[in-house]
């Protein structure tokens, strides 16, 4: 289908993003999977789940990077795997990075990043609750939005909601 849309030309990433990408791939390349991609205002990294916490600590503590602010943790069920996407900001260097890990769908376990960014606490609990990702080492791994006795993870693509009852229906 041809979209009849006037497209905005994609702006090239600022030079500071290229410098940050070179720093990351040079020093911490062993934790990465695949090359670093750019958006207009974001670095896109894919991390090896085993080295996620080391990479996150390095991103936070390296003075050239300084990613000290965790903005968002999102879990996405991609049907053949589950991915967890972290968006982090570096307030000092005005950088944004998108960190992604791909997990096995049947046993999605990844290291918790609460020791690195304490703000990850409720965001990871929410991801566990709705998508079913287990965060190893989380200080309080309980459900947060749904009930404690809720069964299933609603944002999984194969989740079936309870039968929709109408008046007179047998369901």
């Amino acid at each position: 289908m041809v979209l009849n849309v006037r497209r905005k030309p994609a702006a090239p990433p600022a030079p500071r993003y290229r410098q940050a990408a070179e720093t990351i791939s040079g020093k911490y390349g062993q934790h990465l999977v695949g090359p670093i991609a750019f958006e207009e205002r974001a670095l896109k990294l894919e991390a090896d789940p085993a080295g996620l916490r080391e990479l996150a600590l390095a991103l936070r503590d390296d003075p050239a990077l300084g990613f000290n602010y965790l903005s968002c943790v999102s879990g996405v069920d991609m049907k053949d795997h589950i991915q967890v996407v972290y968006h982090v900001h570096s307030l000092a260097n005005v950088l944004t990075a998108q960190l992604r890990v791909k997990l096995d769908r049947d046993n999605p376990v990844v290291d918790s990043l609460v020791p690195v960014w304490p703000g990850a606490n409720w965001l990871e609990r929410e991801t566990y609750d709705l998508v079913g990702v287990q965060f190893a080492g989380h200080p309080d791994p309980r459900r947060i939005l749904t009930d404690d006795d809720f069964v299933g993870h609603p944002l999984r693509k194969d989740y079936l909601p309870p039968a929709y009852r109408q008046h007179g229906s047998k369901a």
Partner: protein, 384 residues
């Protein structure tokens, strides 16, 4: 501001005292307590008047908005954005359509971007009026909240004239806005902005210098700068701690790069600083509205977008500065469907609330109300 406190990871600082049945009391506050601003439940362990431990329990208002997004079209989801955060609706719609536009790669007409700035700033004012008004109401002052809601009514009247509804505006569209400004709307807005500036002077005189208000807020609930960053606070909460982190300048979007936004920063880190940031953000919003009105360009208000919005495969992360802070949408498209494959809402109230147990530890029971009110949460967005 420097801090002497060393930042301890959360899993190490929970060395809590054992429950002592002879002097400890478990007190349940909420979910129907008026000062919890909705359906927040706080389970508190008190020793005398002091809070030993506080556990927030949320989820009473969970409606599964993110699940609903997956079964609605891109245009159909805008209407649900009004409902997860029901105080500053326009800002939520901006985050949602911004993510959809980033997926689609559509260029929004400049007039639409300027109209968005005006309604965003008005929406921010209406949210801060509720925030400030109910905050002083929590602390025992009855009069200011009536002033605040009187002015908020006028903002809602303006929105009603614009889009037809007072609360669930459904005004933003992917690629622009729904209607152009009606005749005479800008004149009404100008008159409102003049009166609103006077109200803010009045409010500041009435509240900021009030001895009781100052006694209950100055030096209470102090968040040091590094703790605010580590706990991912945003909005007035982080700017009250001296961090000039404002998405309108950090990741500028829409027409904001063309306007000179000045983030309001205070350095106290206490409840009073957060209140003051909100008050001065309303003044800043008046200035930005006037600036956008003066520079309002002509032209179309809606880009050419197909009726069935079906973006190419990809993902987008769009951030706006909501009334409570960093309001972001992470949207994934599978390239086939007319519905978002996944739309994750990063709600600022949800993330801001998680610092509460740390803040109220060791405070008196009365300070819990003061601290909770100063964080300024909306439970619809905490629970989504």
């Amino acid at each position: 501001m420097t801090t002497t406190e060393k930042l301890v990871p959360l899993d190490q600082q929970e060395a809590e005292e054992p429950f002592d049945a002879s002097q400890d009391l478990i007190l349940n506050m909420g979910p129907q307590h008026p000062s919890t601003h909705g359906v927040l439940r706080l389970v508190m362990r008190l020793r005398g008047e002091r809070v030993v431990k506080c556990t927030p329990v949320i989820g009473y208002l969970h409606r599964g908005i993110e699940k609903i997004f997956e079964s609605r079209t891109y245009m159909g989801g805008i209407r649900y954005c009004d409902q997860f955060e029901y105080i500053s609706n326009m800002l939520n719609e901006h985050a949602y359509v911004g993510a959809a536009e980033a997926l689609l790669g559509v260029e929004v007409p400049r007039r639409a971007e300027y109209i968005r700035v005006i309604v965003d700033e008005l929406s921010r004012c209406s949210a801060h009026l509720v925030g400030v008004g109910t905050y002083v109401l929590d602390l025992g002052a009855w009069t200011p909240v009536t002033y605040c809601f009187r002015e908020r009514e006028r903002i809602l009247d303006l929105f009603e004239a614009l889009g037809g509804s007072r609360f669930n505006h459904n005004y933003f569209r992917v690629g622009g806005v729904l209607f152009d400004l009606p005749t005479g709307w800008l004149g009404t807005l100008e008159k409102f902005l003049g009166d609103f500036g006077k109200l803010l002077d009045e409010l500041e005189e009435l509240v900021s210098g009030n001895e009781i208000f100052r006694a209950r807020t100055v030096g209470v609930g102090v968040i040091p700068q590094d703790v605010a960053v580590a706990y991912s606070l945003s909005g007035p909460n982080i700017r009250g701690s001296g961090v000039p982190f404002d998405m309108r300048t950090y990741r500028p979007y829409g027409a904001y790069p063309e306007l000179d936004v000045q983030p309001q920063v205070r350095y106290g880190g206490d409840c009073f600083s957060r209140y003051e940031v909100r008050l001065y953000e309303m003044r800043e919003a008046i200035r930005l509205c006037r600036l956008a009105m003066a520079n309002l360009p002509g032209g179309p208000i809606q880009a050419r977008v197909p009726h069935a919005v079906r973006p190419p495969k990809g993902e987008a992360y769009f951030t706006v500065e909501g009334a409570k802070g960093d309001l972001s949408l992470y949207m994934v498209s599978d390239g086939l469907s007319q519905n978002p494959y996944r739309a994750k809402v990063r709600g600022p109230s949800f993330v801001n609330l998680q610092i509460l147990p740390r803040l109220v530890k060791g405070c008196t029971m009365a300070d819990v109300v003061a601290i909770l009110g100063s964080i300024d949460i909306v439970l619809g967005e905490v629970d989504r």
